[in-house]
């Protein structure tokens, strides 16, 4: 123990310091790297620009969703309603737009407003009624899906106009010598930067982390904990609405569009080292976790595994990765 200084002890060799530095890197980056190399090995085409961008476009919804989920997770909560928000976004956008290209912009506004509303309700119920978020967002899972299904009568109706679908499936043609630069990737980059700034470079993010760590101490230090917590839920639900627009654009209207995404996003975030029950988490690492999951799906596909078995492998990987993280943190303590 010394006075705080910036210097590291010079006695350590360069190799030891490099090893130490490598060990401080979040393991999710290694996992993603290994998976990416494996995919490239099985399918060299993967690393030509167009297929790779297409892959990123496919991964974009889960990555954005996961980044949103991180905000709720570091605040100490869960958001189980995101899958339903995605489904309802897809269903309702089809009904509202009903193949009318002129409607696109107000439909998008409406969907984002819907996301804000769901987030506000999740946040308010959790913050003011003190309902555990696992339960409040579970309730909202049922409510939001019910609203979507009630509106559509239980089956997909209507069509999405092309200018609404474009976010999910098309891109800017012929720039950088590419066939297409997907809009989804642009959105992905925009949100990655935005969320990174928000959580890691703004007072808001630091207050959110402190709140997830110790709500009482945060309140006594002047953090407006209700506002900060509710806005985390809003960020998460809005992210889900955006993911819904991308998924609808890519895959078309389906009442299964968002099934399982709540758990996938939590698992991806945890894979990225986010601590459940709050206080620790990183946007880039969590998004890498989501990327790793999507690469994994691609890999399993390439290996010709039957589709259902992907779930099983996904389950194994998640448990393995979290067990490894738990093991290594125990060891370093």
């Amino acid at each position: 123990m010394t006075q705080i200084t910036a210097t590291t002890s010079a006695s350590e060799s360069f190799g030891a310091r490099a090893m130490h530095w490598l060990r401080t890197i979040n393991p999710v980056y290694y996992i993603a790297l290994v998976l990416l190399v494996a995919v490239g090995y099985l399918n060299p085409v993967f690393y030509t620009p167009d297929p790779f961008l297409a892959f990123l476009a496919r991964a974009a919804p889960l990555m954005i969703l996961t980044a949103g989920q991180v905000f709720v997770l570091v605040s100490g909560g869960f958001d189980l309603s995101v899958g339903s928000v995605v489904t309802s976004t897809v269903i309702i956008s089809a009904i509202l737009a009903n193949n009318d290209p002129n409607s696109t912009w107000w439909v998008i506004l409406f969907l984002l407003a819907g996301g804000v509303l769901v987030g506000l309700i999740n946040g308010a119920v959790t913050t003011f009624l003190k309902v555990p978020s696992l339960i409040s967002t579970l309730g909202m899972l049922l409510v939001v899906r019910g609203v979507g299904l009630l509106w559509s009568g239980g089956a997909p109706r209507g069509y999405l106009p092309d200018n609404l679908r474009m976010f999910g499936r098309s891109g800017i043609e012929g720039i950088f010598g590419l066939r297409q630069f997907p809009y989804a990737v642009i959105l992905l980059v925009v949100f990655a930067v935005l969320y990174w700034l928000l959580l890691h470079r703004m007072n808001y993010g630091r207050q959110l982390l402190a709140l997830g760590d110790n709500p009482r101490a945060s309140r006594l230090s002047g953090v407006n904990i209700s506002l900060v917590r509710v806005s985390a839920f809003v960020i998460c639900s809005v992210s889900a609405a955006i993911a819904g627009i991308l998924i609808g654009g890519r895959g078309g209207v389906s009442i299964e569009a968002g099934t399982g995404l709540e758990m996938q996003s939590i698992a991806a975030a945890v894979l990225g080292g986010t601590m459940l029950l709050g206080g620790r988490g990183s946007v880039p690492a969590a998004m890498t976790g989501a990327l790793a999951l999507e690469v994994l799906f691609t890999l399993l596909n390439l290996m010709g595994l039957p589709k259902p078995l992907r779930d099983a492998v996904q389950g194994l990987i998640i448990i393995g990765a979290v067990a490894y993280t738990a093991y290594s943190t125990r060891k370093t303590r």
Partner: protein
């Protein structure tokens, strides 16, 4: 909500009832159940689509109990793990595995019933053991561990079966459809499970130790308890109740499909019923009777919605709202009491 109940006429009665319940540490879920019961009667009276009130119809009354069986049995198991400050998200998949496994293995042959049931309970115990081991030995967060195990079960099941597979023999359907006297067998089984759960939790050392593990793992460990073993047993119990629920579901449906468990939302609803029943998600506090009351709330609401002819999707919305409000009702209140 209270204003709608007949007893609201004399507020002192309510106040006294509340004081009485508080003094005995009785969770408010029973109050909510009573309130919803009276609300149901009023709703039925004013908006009912047939001319008969459900409380005078023994079939419907029994039906409320039958509706509670599937969720009730697995919710008892969920209560065990939640009391141990854990959670089990794999139960829905376990129910699917059981339902499909039962109809596939029995294949309509009454002679295969017994060993099929035994095999399935063994499978359930193994899954519980795996859940518990991953949580206690590998120190994986229970939410992630059981989600992962659930995904593995789902993957294996969907890879092997795409649709309804086989069927259960008529004799096995007695579980869901026969009755002893006025009470269906399934309801008796539910009560047997609840009573067994109550006895285990409140009268045995195992129960006392599970409360200790959930209340404070550290304290339990320092008292020399084998905390890992205790929590793992809770997971085994939980998975086995999921098997029992799966058996009930398949006996009612006659054949099992891979989606029966997940479509029933048994994972999330069993957690909701447990929490509404007054068991704290942080563990160490609560019990199975409260959980049963929570499940009855769901069944009662379903019955009321049917009686007044509410659309299936609207039902989902209301169900979600009730989960939030019911838990909010007393979390908010208990915070207010603390000052």
């Amino acid at each position: 909500m209270t204003a709608l109940t007949p007893s609201a006429a004399s507020p002192s009665v309510i106040d006294r009832a509340r004081a009485w319940a508080r003094a005995r540490n009785i969770p408010p879920v029973y109050g909510i159940l009573v309130i919803i019961f009276f609300v149901s009667i009023l709703a039925d009276l004013f908006f009912g689509i047939d001319n008969q009130l459900f409380i005078f119809n023994p079939t419907i009354l029994t039906n409320i109990l039958v509706r509670s069986v599937a969720l009730g049995i697995v919710a008892v198991g969920q209560t065990f793990v939640v009391l141990g400050a854990s959670i089990d998200l794999s139960v829905a998949y376990m129910i699917s595995v059981t339902a499909v496994g039962a109809s596939y293995l029995m294949a309509g042959d009454p002679n295969r019933v017994w060993w099929t049931v035994i095999v399935l309970f063994v499978v359930g115990a193994v899954v519980g053991l795996v859940n518990g081991t991953i949580i206690t030995k590998l120190k994986v967060n229970p939410l992630i561990a059981t989600l992962g195990v659930g995904l593995i079960l789902k993957g294996l099941l969907n890879a092997s079966f795409a649709n309804f597979a086989g069927s259960v023999p008529i004799s096995f359907q007695a579980f869901a459809y026969n009755a002893i006297g006025p009470l269906p067998i399934s309801v008796l089984v539910l009560f047997a499970v609840v009573i067994a759960g109550w006895f285990l939790l409140r009268r045995t050392r195992y129960g006392a130790h599970l409360y200790a593990v959930g209340g404070s793992e550290e304290t339990a460990r320092l008292s020399g308890l084998h905390t890992d073993r205790i929590l793992t047993i809770a997971h085994v119990i939980c998975s086995m109740t999921a098997v029992l629920t799966g058996l009930f579901v398949v006996s009612r449906l006659r054949s099992g499909a891979p989606w029966v468990g997940t479509d029933g939302l048994y994972d999330l609803e069993s957690i909701a019923a447990t929490v509404i029943g007054g068991t704290a998600l942080s563990g160490g506090k609560g019990g199975v009777w409260g959980t049963l009351a929570g499940v009855l709330i769901f069944s009662l609401l379903d019955t009321m919605f049917n009686q007044i002819g509410i659309d299936a999707y609207m039902k989902q919305i209301l169900r979600g709202a009730v989960i939030i409000l019911a838990v909010g009702f007393y979390t908010f209140r208990s915070k207010a009491e603390q000052g």
